[in-house]
Symmetry: D2
Subunit: 456 residues, 4 copies
């Protein structure tokens, strides 16, 4: 273990995920000589910060560690001389996510907080804040790494690197981790005996798998996980997956790669929409469910005797996210060269994506950051969808930065989850009005829309 003491800052520290993060650090305490952890939040999040912050302090204490866990609303104070900054905040809190999901659904469209209309608005709200944080970092901690897991993580990373100029940004997601665990269980081979190569975008990636005899197991996994004929298997993971899967088996077979669960939105759009409309009508959209779960979690966290991560958090849906952040930090600090799937600058590793854009790709995490393992080219149909999605992301980011309504409607038009035409414009307008508090870059157009609305 190196000697240099570490200062870690978590923006959005009042999140319900924080206990997992703290647990992740505690697990690695022999590799990470942490001196201070700063949990930062904003005024609206103060209560949650205090609850979860107190719990974090109990966890550290219970582990017998001397780390200082500071809680603050003063971001700049926290950032000063930080080594690692993790970001897990949600602009507008869960209420904004509810709007992201329900407003599109009220028009019969998928909302979806990452790549659907909702996700695009999450990007519109989050990008200005991440760029602000970067401005502070340039001044206060110019050598720190930014580990982001706020969604849409790929777009946020691209904004941070290309527009913010912060090359020391790494985007993280728990989806690849879940995929690896699932593959391992389906094959009944330990994860450490498999080699995974992921490539694509955040929530839009595919992967291939090899075993330690040198055999590619991708085709076999497609059979296990998606061929309805395997619904009677003895393997629980296989059975559960086939039962839940909306994928058309024949299409996945043609694909020849393992999709990620979010591909359901693109490969089974119609079925996903039906399911979401059902949740909408019953008040059980994802955001609404999460909001209830969170409330329950914070009730638990209030328990002054609770000094470990409760089981219930794992069921919250974002498991492994924070652990991944801890592992990235640990691998950078110790030059461990762990292979992880991260959002980083493509530089040609995924041939079908623009050179200077962000890819989500298997990478070796070194002391100087992620070094992607080359993935190469995709087959024709996957390539086409990937390129469309990247165009959509880039148009969305540009609209977010410039506050351009024309770009925003263009991004909506090309998003495969949004039917184009008048309906797209209506949903766009309604979301702009609903989120106006967090969309200062669009103030001018929102103002005009406001007037039109008044007129009617």
């Amino acid at each position: 273990m190196k000697n240099k003491k570490i200062k870690i800052v978590t923006i959005g520290g009042g999140s319900s995920y924080t206990p997992e993060l703290i647990e992740g650090f505690i697990k690695r305490s022999n590799e990470l000589p942490i001196e201070e952890i700063w949990l930062v939040d904003i005024e609206e999040g103060k209560e949650k910060l205090e609850i979860v912050g107190a719990m974090a302090q109990r966890m550290v204490k219970a582990a017998g560690l001397d780390w200082k866990v500071n809680l603050t609303l003063d971001r700049r104070q926290a950032l000063k001389d930080a080594d690692f900054v993790s970001t897990q905040f949600r602009v507008g809190l869960l209420d904004a996510r509810i709007k992201d999901e329900r407003i599109p659904l009220s028009h019969g469209l998928i909302g979806q907080e990452t790549n659907g209309a909702g996700g695009m608005f999450k990007a519109f709200r989050t990008i200005p804040v991440i760029l602000d944080i970067i401005e502070d970092m340039k001044e206060l901690c110019p050598n720190a790494w930014l580990i982001n897991f706020t969604n849409p993580a790929g777009m946020i990373a691209e904004a941070a690197i290309k527009y913010g100029g912060w090359n020391r940004t790494i985007g993280l997601c728990n989806v690849p981790i879940n995929c690896m665990k699932q593959d391992s269980k389906a094959l009944e081979i330990p994860e450490e005996d498999l080699f995974f190569k992921f490539a694509g975008l955040n929530h839009f990636h595919w992967h291939r798998v090899w075993d330690n005899e040198g055999n590619e197991r991708t085709a076999e996994l497609i059979e296990l996980l998606y061929n309805p004929e395997n619904s009677g298997s003895n393997n629980e993971t296989v059975v559960a997956n086939i039962k839940d899967s909306k994928f058309i088996y024949e299409q996945i077979k043609d694909l020849g790669l393992l999709p990620c669960p979010y591909h359901n939105y693109y490969y089974a759009t119609d079925d996903m929409l039906k399911e979401e409309l059902e949740s909408f009508s019953t008040g059980k959209t994802r955001a609404e469910v999460v909001k209830r779960t969170e409330a329950e979690l914070f009730e638990l966290y209030k328990d002054v005797k609770l000094d470990y991560k409760p089981e219930q958090l794992t069921k919250r849906g974002g498991a492994y996210y924070s652990d991944a952040a801890c592992e990235v930090i640990c691998s950078i600090y110790n030059d461990k060269k762990t292979t992880m799937v991260v959002c980083t600058i493509n530089n040609g590793s995924v041939s079908d994506l623009p050179y200077d854009s962000i890819a989500e790709v298997s990478s070796i995490i070194t002391a100087h950051g992620p070094e992607p393992i080359n993935f190469g080219k995709l087959d024709i149909p996957a390539k086409g969808m990937l390129q469309l999605m990247k165009s959509m992301e880039q148009t969305t980011i540009s609209a977010a930065i410039k506050g351009s309504y024309n770009e925003a409607i263009h991004a909506f038009t090309i998003n495969p989850l949004i039917p184009s035409g008048k309906i797209a414009k209506e949903v766009l307008n309604e979301l702009l009005l609903a989120h106006k508090k967090y969309l200062l870059q669009f103030a001018k157009i929102i103002n005009e829309l406001d007037k039109q609305t008044l007129t009617y």
Copy 2:
């Protein structure tokens, strides 16, 4: 005028368009020393061939020309030593098109005979026939040019060149011609004083326009044709266009290029679907309307006194198609170097398309074929959609050649006009069964589907 006498063969010669084609040749009789025109059709088209063929003979005679106009059902006899072969046939006739349109609509999907589910099935039916024709041409007229205007013209051209190995293939469409006429009228500048650069795919292209002072007029045309504020203009074309347009003006402004009318399917999908569902419910899908128009046209053609192209044909919808074919032939024969928009091998002229695929692009038509004018790169959002569409085309072509069900469902999945998931599979299956007579390459899967259907 060169001396070499020309033999022209038209496959699908019984088409209602034939009079325009004949008129086109007659107009160019001083540039084209035609010796023979062969109109070829199949048994089912015999009656129409005889009606329109007799009329073609009357037209040639009335023009005082000594060309021999031969009618035949024997394709191989016609092809022998041909110089130019034009193809305008429709496998399964208009009844197949009715199925292409109505079956998807019956499931609430756009049918669309070029790029929707219907167009994909048109490709499935047509590609095997075009490859057969090419096999004959290799043997009987190895130096002939193949001028195709059967839809989907881009996919047919790609199949002919990449899979058939027939480099002397040119795909043609009347859409660019209509665009140029419209731009000219909107700007009130003669077509010959404008310079157009088109690029993209068949029924999915954009263009830019310059005047002869060197000024780009694209942005002005976007205003004239798509800005609702111009609905009170004095220019008829402008007013009519704004009234009919479904495009979201702000999106087109961001695009910065002039779309083609078929972009409505992609840029205003929801509105187009509504319109098509309306036609569906009233028995007025495009195919049904065309079927009635055609019947009327053939009634006219039966008139033994009619020896010129009747006005009604122009209203049929495919105006300028045949004239374009005549101009391509004339430009090749005379090395005229006319600038035309054709489907030809990309070779890098449209940077965002694969090098060896077919683009629809402004080209100089020389004696050795089309030489594309370089177009370069598109902006990000147009690029993404173009790349998706090309992937969809290529997956469709590959499925058509191999008879691969897996590729077919993958092509359906990525087609932006088809909602992916179970519904896509249902529509695919229903179309396969409906067209089984013309889809021998899919015989095995159709057979299985047939059995399943019986079971239910």
Copy 3:
């Protein structure tokens, strides 16, 4: 003919080529309503300007035209409201070219005023001046076209467009014109019945040729021009060419494209070096020969009765250069869409060159500038050399702009006409010192070199 009166400015107007330029304008007087021609030169060129300027005035008068031909040393006065600016100046005059050629040769290296060490120094001297001119143009004639034929024309065009931001730049050269004339004579087919496609860089391009029957004639031309077995042909051009050619026939056959004469430097480097060393030892390097020819030409020009371009100028070596400039101007002014070979921004037309760099490529010259005809990819060996040469050009340009010694030695190192190592550094240093008057951007390093030299 349009009505707008034209103002043309020629920088380096005191050149011996000026009579050809004037003749070119006179020939096109019915297409070009010229109002004023300004011949601009610098103090050192005043005498030549006056001689050739007076002759230009006589030529215009003899042609019965009312154009005003103005002579000036005040560049800014001339540029005011210009429509076309042609540049044909030589920084340091022919004496600098003599150094460019003789200094390298004195070390046993090819000098060569375009791509050898000499040409690189010509770029170092010329680029700052062209950027200065552009600064003036931005202010005084923001809509003018810059037609450059100062060598190295490709690098100058790239500097003007990429670094000067002047997109309305066209680079010109007479080499393609000579190639076309030679091909036409070798094939005994009029130029207008042939179609040429050129691609590459200035003084480093290849081409293909087709006839108006659609047959490619490239392979036949390779036989005619380069196969020693044709040395007994009846065709004078063929015999003369085979006699003079240094190309290895088998290599050109493998190339499959027609090289340009400057390819001798790259394809027959050893033989060219021997020939140049011979000229060096006899005081007959190209620059020395040209200097004598020029002196003779100016003697002729002094003749107040001479009012037409004398035959001797054609033999000077740069024939067709100025005529090409006139044709470019005429084609822009009249939107003639003449096909010409020009240095313009690549934009993907030559696939193996960077998208945003300058290519020399067959283009349609429209009112809004050159539209390249797509060329596509080269075969492997041509591609490799082309990519090296473009890297060399770009490194040279960057060194010229930044005054970077490190980049200059790197450019020397990769130039295939310069043996790398100590000798390259010596020649670089000697040339820097020799041209120091014109290399202010390198002042710092030259100063250091000066001191070192004094020390020895």
Copy 4:
């Protein structure tokens, strides 16, 4: 350690390097359950095979291992069921290398057994043999890995993969290993605390270096190894390197990457030529020196008491080569994921090389072969040279496969170490005649050259 017993075959087993290979296996005996080692050679190498083979047997015995070390002239017998095949043969033995070096030098050209004229002939002689071996492998050991370290290793790997279709080919070289050792010594940091990224071609690669604090140390290494001002350093490696280096420091500084020693041929061509001509005149070309060293080594090997690798072999020049082969085998067998620099298919990892060509690039060696770490783009001047070199390689390989004289002269023409023109043709012809015994693919042209030679 896995259980599967391993069979290893070494073609060219009579090489003087064999003891290092055996030592490498012995060192890894706890990781590699070897059952049999087969040393294969040809009739001419029989004596050497017996000498070094006996020594190998002694080494294994001395190590207390039960491996069977078989010696054979029957390649097919050896290949049967092999797991790993290493190739280290030299077609025509050292006498052929002497010709490769001396014939070009006799004309004043660099010979150089890897990328100069000599190296190209080594490719001409070796490629047919490697393809033969692959044909045998397809039949006898279809799952074996081919580990080649016969030079030119990059071209051999490309021929094996692209033309032989043997994807399980890995090319190896000791140059990167030496670079890493040198960098480590210059920085005084252990190799394992540095991270290296290599990219390029065999004997034409560059690299970057980072330490385990995340700092890039490349620029510092350029200073240490190439800045003459460091000639008085206290670090021996630094002093020795600066003393020996022919690189122009300023050029390397502009390069910004660490060159490999073979770059001297390209970056200091003139100085290398002088040095080689000196060796030529004194009978001390590399091949001649090696031939003497080898004779001495075999004298040593005859000693029946010698049962370990003698010190003298390390000085032979190829140290670490065989050890690298052992490590590759070990990493594949155990899925160790060691990072090594190997020749493997590029697949986009080095952006400036063709996708389907061979790159030499840092890779993770897994059970399914090398997974390159993405390198990305090079700066302009390095890119240009790399692209030329790859074109030269590919033209050479194609000439070798087809026996094409035209391609061979084209490859000579573009090779930057060969002055183009008549001299290139003379050297090519002389080498063809000198090596005719091993160049059956060129039999036709050699026959013609033979006749021409007789005529004179």
